[in-house]
Amino acid sequence: MKKIVLWLMSTTTVLVLLFGYHTSTSSTNTASADSAVVAPVGDSTTGSTAASDDASASSATYTGDSADTRWGPVQVEITVAGGTVTDVSVIDYPSGNGKDQQINARALPVLVQETLDAQSADIDMVSGATVTSEGYLESLQSALDEAGL
């Protein structure tokens, strides 16, 4: 149900635990140390594995503990075939729907419904569609940076 199919020519399943910036380093170690060679996991990925016409590829499983994030425990599974990531699934993730009880609404930035002209607005930074380095020179943000206010 939580499976996300990014690509379906997979033959090899790799389990990777990840998430949480603080766990980055440790998850590497987990991946390289424990990764080696475990049979493909027999859960939801079995279908695509079985359906594959290449049964001879070696498989490796990366496992680790579920990582705590500010949204709750998160675990992700990544499938790799021929050195290419072919599938990414979410094994465990706190409900993304509804209101997250953890979030302190008071701490959140809230949109203010006021419409102002750039000329009259006292603004520090501008959020807009991604500006390229070329486009930056003409952008409002560059004017702010230039002004050094």
Partner: protein, 259 residues
């Protein structure tokens, strides 16, 4: 007020990185080295993730030259975020297109959030770090003067449509005002119609950025989808100039304002 604001700009990852600092460390050694550190984090993210660099880990992954295990753990982390985003957007957002891995929709916000850590370590200092219009704000004093963030008018990028005060949080905008039509609904491969930009406010820039892109890809469905996202508020600007605001606490509530 907290004194004059110091500004720094540098081009990284093909986009302008702008920093505003105010408070105790704005133009001293500590400030400059924090800025250098932040830029280093962004450059490193570019080296790892850029699809424009043939030697990046992601490019080599795409060519099948290396395995995920050969990559820094951040690659798996970012792909995992992309997977979550794809799941939670019903497939409108994806980190693969035409069989090619392209996590750039995740990387920017994620990288800026990491880069900002160096700035947040400056005591008594407010920071606002922007990468091409997606930004992360912090005030040293939780009750201090907020940063005032203008939301660009996608139809006239020299103007702002709204101003949002932000103390601790992120603002990200997706649209096509500067780069032309590059955002598509991953389910159809087509650009959404009728929508000009989506701005999302959240506590995390990683998710503000992802959600802005994912909402934009959904076109007309953007406000309704954003309203389901925990802790997000936002502004959708339509091609005709009208706007919809999404407020996080009023679940399905979004109101259409005159443009």
């Amino acid at each position: 007020m907290t004194g004059p604001t110091a500004r720094y700009v540098e081009q990284v990852m093909g986009m302008p990185i702008s920093l505003a600092l105010r408070g105790r460390h704005t133009d001293d050694t500590a400030a400059r080295s924090a800025w250098a550190e932040a830029i280093d984090v962004l450059r490193e993210a570019d080296r790892v993730f850029s699809t424009y660099r043939a030697d990046s880990f992601v490019s080599r992954l795409n060519r099948g030259e290396i395995d995920l295990a050969d990559c820094p753990p951040e690659v798996a982390e970012v792909l995992g975020l992309g997977a979550l985003a794809e799941q939670q957007s019903g497939g409108a957002f994806a980190v693969r297109r035409d069989g090619v891995l392209d996590p750039s929709g995740v990387v920017k916000g994620w990288a800026v959030e990491r880069a900002a850590a160096a700035l947040h370590a400056l005591d008594g200092t407010d920071s606002c770090l922007s990468a091409g219009g997606d930004l992360l704000c912090r005030t040293a004093d939780p009750d201090g003067a907020p940063w005032r963030i203008g939301i660009e008018d996608p139809r006239d990028p020299g103007r702002v449509l709204a101003v949002v005060p932000v103390r601790d949080g992120a603002v990200a905008t997706s649209g096509t005002a500067h780069r032309g039509q590059h955002l598509v609904d991953a389910r159809t491969g087509r650009a959404p119609e009728g929508i000009a930009s989506v701005t999302v406010l959240a506590d995390s820039l990683t998710w503000a950025d992802i959600d802005a892109t994912a909402a934009y890809a959904q076109g007309q469905g953007a406000p309704a989808w954003l309203a389901t996202r925990p802790g997000r508020t936002g502004l959708v600007v339509w091609a005709d100039g009208s706007t919809s605001t999404v407020t996080g606490d009023l679940s399905e509530a979004w109101t259409t304002l005159a443009g």
